[in-house]
């Protein structure tokens, strides 16, 4: 576990909001020299604090505004069934995330598609065609109140 001082934390917050800003711009916000900021960034990358730099796409702009959460229960929990299910579900483009969770159901999936029809299509032809699924329970997103990729460090 690496130690981050207050400047590092501020820097990580800035990069989580906009990773394309120049080191010059960052240096002004942090009251540091360009080199100092540069070295700190390299250290954050090397130490694995910063995992990757990505472009975020606006769902609405590409007509993928329908978001659903999907609970899934497996018929059995043998090593083989679990592995197979996890492998298959990870392949599906519509599945943004899949978590093995505690509680009544085994898994929670976040699914992003075009509309309800696309979701139906996804359920029938992709998800439930995976073997070993016992039951599912879907919840549809009415409104996205908050959604961020930025973790407070």
């Amino acid at each position: 576990m690496v130690h981050l001082d207050d400047i590092d934390k501020k820097l990580v917050a800035l990069l989580q909001d906009d990773c394309k800003q120049t080191t010059k711009a960052l240096s002004l916000k942090l009251n540091l020299s360009v080199t100092a900021v540069y070295e700190r960034i390299k250290k954050l990358e090397k130490s694995g604090v910063i995992d990757k730099y990505v472009a975020l796409v606006k769902k609405e702009a590409i007509d993928k505004s329908f978001v659903a959460f999907c609970h899934i229960k497996l018929v059995q929990h043998t090593q083989e069934y679990v592995m197979k299910f996890e492998q298959e579900v990870a392949k599906l483009n519509e599945v943004m995330s899949c978590y093995h969770i505690s509680g009544d159901y085994d898994y929670l999936l976040q699914v992003v598609v075009e509309d309800m029809e696309a979701f139906r299509e996804f359920m029938v032809n992709k998800l439930t065609s995976i073997n070993h699924i016992g039951s599912t329970h879907s919840m549809f997103v009415i409104n996205e109140v908050k959604h961020t990729t930025a973790i407070k460090v």
Copy 2:
């Protein structure tokens, strides 16, 4: 809604995986000139397909490995209660996302903290101190099978 051809789609996929690669590197992968790639990227930014460029932080590296999903039911659904709740919950750093959903509960939250103790602290001192919350139901993440920010375009 903007129209994206196959090259645009490939480009968006590349940027969703790594937005720091040079236009030169992208041009080689897309068999285009640097300028052509550059213009396409600018168009994707202007049209809103690309929302922002961010650094993604590895939870494990900053000791925030505990993830929970939290169902919440409000006591009432008056305009005032709903607004107030959504405002307050959006302020909480531990809440990565909050969705208003269909089904038995009103909201689904994704919460990221240090450990179970931090989660308890969060529930007691932050979440349930928001007024108008009726009941909650928490599910803990045992394993993150899949998690991506990249939408297939």
